[in-house]
Subunit: 120 residues, 2 copies
DNA sequence: AAGTTATATAACTAAGACGTTATTTATGCA
DNA sequence: TGCATAAATAACGTCTTAGTTATATAACTT
């Protein structure tokens, strides 16, 4: 699943998330996107390429401009992955040893927690 | 939202996602985690620190071992963020210009697409 | 055709990520 | 005590990322 590599990697950068936030309001060109972020146009173009490779945005051709907008495939993919994690998490919390572990890790009940014998 | 930086960054690495997949089956120690991945123990320890900083896993103390398990906060946080993107995406797709854009970007209908006279 | 505008690409630099081996710290055990 | 084991940390090399400036490409404008 290397699309996940690209997708999560793309989302890990605050500038790229800001770009997505801007695109959430509607499509925008490179220069429009570059304006609010004090950063050069080439830098934004690179970020856009990363986002597009990740499947998070799409291009459109309009003369010399290339307005970008949000795309869905990556989001669906990510959602699906996170779902498996959520499920596993829920399942683990239902297990007894997880409950015991939770008690064990509470510093109030056992100052210096152990479990083999009980000393130090 | 720099927790998102950490969370998405953590999920961008395939080794770390594999670690999470293993932890989805239940808690495991560093050495147990290191075994399947042919990688040294220090490397795994670093990955675990990244995952923990991101809020994706937790530790437990058991003598000299530190079994890890999945944690929820980061997932909730991520879910919430993705939700805003999903919403924006849906909203954008409801707009007329987005629909026109979709047609415009279809290479079959217009070989060298323009639009100065059409929408915008 | 010539100039302008929108974007992409190239070449470079600085910083960060990810792996290694060697060593340290902390606990358990004889 | 002293040795063994689990995990963390240090120091280091290498590859990747994110930014810069300079330049190239493509399309619109006159």
């Amino acid at each position: 699943m290397e699309l996940l590599d690209a997708s999560f990697g793309a989302l890990a950068d605050p500038t790229r998330r800001a770009i997505l936030a801007r695109l959430a309001l509607g499509e925008a060109t490179v220069l429009e996107l570059a304006k609010p972020f004090q950063m050069t146009q080439p830098a934004i173009s690179r970020h856009l390429k990363v986002l597009e490779t990740a499947g998070l945005i799409e291009q459109r051709v309009d003369g010399t401009r290339r307005p970008r907008r949000l795309a869905k495939p990556a989001l669906d993919n990510i959602d699906q992955y996170l779902d498996t994690l959520r499920r596993a998490l829920a399942a683990n919390y239902d297990r007894l040893d997880q409950v015991l572990a939770a008690m064990d890790r509470n510093p109030d009940s056992t100052p210096n927690q152990r479990k083999t014998g009980g000393s130090k």
